[in-house]
Amino acid sequence: MLKGKLKLPLPVPDKARRAFPDRLGSLVAGFDFKEEDYGGGSDLVVFEPGEELETFQPNGFVSDKDQSAGVANFVEESDIKVRPRPEKDGAGPVSTVQVIAVDEKRSDLEFELSRPEINLEKLQRIASAGLPDGGGLRATAWKLLLGYLPPSRDQWEKELTENRQKYAKLKEELLLSPLPWTNGNLESRQSELTRRKDEAFSYKEQHVDVDGPLRRHEISQEDHPLSLGKASAWHQYFQYTEMVEQIDRDLQRTHPDKKFFSGETSFSRKNRQAMKNILLLFAKLNPAIRYVQGMNEVLAPIYYVFSTDTDEKNAVNAEADSFSCFVRLLSDSVDHFCQQLDNSSVGILSTLTRLSDLLKANDEELWRHLEFTSKVRPQFYAFRWITLLLTQEFDFQPILRIWDCLLGNSFGVQDMLLRVCCAMLLCVKSRLLSGDFVANLKLLQHYPDINIEHLLRVAQDLSPDTSSYRLSP
């Protein structure tokens, strides 16, 4: 299985890490500003000269030159939704100051990414504060943060070429082979099955027009179409077809409001086909997990970001790159998708308990109210938050922004994910405290529009000192 494959860079000392978000904190009303965290991190400020001015979401303000014709169409609609509510951010028309801030943020990142040896700690900090839309910066940064690209620039070309070739080969072997439903050369029985299936098929072809009962001595009992045995090639075939149909149905329903994914244009069809290949390949390589609903949602942001990269070569190879990054992203949370592990220490229920512990450590009053007064169990709302990495809770652009923060966290995606989930509860605390079971469940299952930057700052500022929630650094 995949467990433990995700290579995360060494953790930053806690103080330095916390110093960064705190610089932004002073802009948010009610945000607990921690002066003492500031001192140690002063060297960081040098890399983000424009940060203090940033009082808006970076997503909505992409300059024309950065939007290639193809990309722009699919960004516009969501940008409108994304723009933060004015009363919270005071964002009127885009001011010169803001444009400069975005430009500076972009150039910081461009500078960082142009260095021969990327400093991952710096990249993590830049990402946590939000990566710019448009161009290929986010795509490159995500690939680095996920460890898909090595820190040395001069190895990128070689790594990418190798990985893309590897993907093409896997696809060829496992998806494009005449018998894609068997487990390919990963399974020792494969050649035996193939031989028998081939016989069965050629037998069928030869006799297709022949009347009368089929002779069946050439098909083993096990491989008879009506055989219920799990080892039967037909059983595998039916399972495979069922899974393909499931993936198709789910991809049709992935972000149904975004033209990139849904509808019957050749463009969206192409995207769905690529995503389908990725999910099928993942399922084949992980027979114990296969495809679980929701994986489509986790894949969507990655594939979108990579295939809208303005570097044409990267965009063309989005499928191969997305596959590897999808695997890496899931590597520390794939157990959440596994029913057999639900009650184990790595399963989703134990992660939900960690969320509950984190809330308790940060706000016992709210924790008590949710657990005992209104009895809104985390599995009723946070199951989806966690397994889908928040992809069904927000609009698309805010999701990308949140993922910058998840991927930029030096303690791993899951650590930040739990923090963001906890922050989501804290940010609607007063409503939760006055709500009963029904009101609270409705609120948490349909999370309100919120200032994402504020949410992320609350998440980053949470007290980390609980016994169990933190993943091993």
Binding site: S262, Q293, Q339, F437, V438
Partner: protein, 211 residues
């Protein structure tokens, strides 16, 4: 969503309804069609979704708490807890996909047997997507026969055209009100809720959802 929240108790009875059935048969669409009179493209349900609808049936003001569950097998260990305390269960299949129909008896009826805590719980079989009649593979007669076998009410509907959508929930509610023990539960829930409004410290179990 359009429905009012369950804060006020300007209703006579409160019932918990559960929607189950295979993935992509249209459970969520049916619910959205019922709740907000609209037809939308929806993402697959992960875990559980939850909606409230107030309506008047048989002269009584009802509050329905409707739990919309995920269809894929992976989620079943989690959905099992949602059965607790349900007075009505709607088993949905897609008339254009036979496997979703056969799974009702092979899988879903067994789940109900296993997890439903209410032995008098009213069940209803609903065949969705009748608007695509050209692709229909499960006939109305087959549906009726299975409903009879499983002891369920039966309806065919289309979440898309909204044909029979309201009837599904109304008929189910009517039937629930005919069962004395369920009627009792429905009014107890309301009474508890009224009591709960005043003292903050009182924490009785609400909505019949979990221990």
């Amino acid at each position: 969503m359009g429905s009012s929240s369950g804060q006020s108790s300007n209703y006579d009875l409160s019932f918990k309804i559960l929607l189950i059935g295979d993935s992509a048969v249209g459970k969520s669409s049916l619910l959205v069609s019922f709740i907000s009179n609209s037809v939308e493209d929806l993402s697959p349900t992960i875990g559980v979704d939850f909606k409230i609808k107030q309506l008047t049936v048989g002269g009584k003001k009802l509050k329905l708490t409707i739990w919309d569950t995920a269809g894929q097998e992976r989620f079943r260990t989690l959905t099992s807890s949602y059965y607790r305390g349900a007075q009505g269960i709607i088993l949905v299949y897609d008339v254009t996909r036979r496997d979703t129909f056969t799974n009702l008896s092979d899988v879903w009826a067994k789940e109900v047997e296993l997890y439903s805590t209410n032995q008098h719980c009213v069940k209803m079989l609903v065949g969705n997507k009748v608007d695509i009649d050209s692709e229909r593979v499960v006939s109305r007669e087959e549906g009726i026969a299975l409903a009879k076998e499983l002891g369920c009410l039966f309806l065919e509907c289309s979440a898309k055209t909204r044909e029979n959508v309201e009837q599904c929930f109304e008929e189910l509610a009517l039937k629930i009100m005919e069962v004395p023990s369920l009627l009792e539960e429905g009014s107890t829930l309301v009474k508890r809720n009224i009591l709960k409004q005043k003292p903050e410290y009182q924490a009785p179990s609400n909505g019949g959802c979990c221990s």
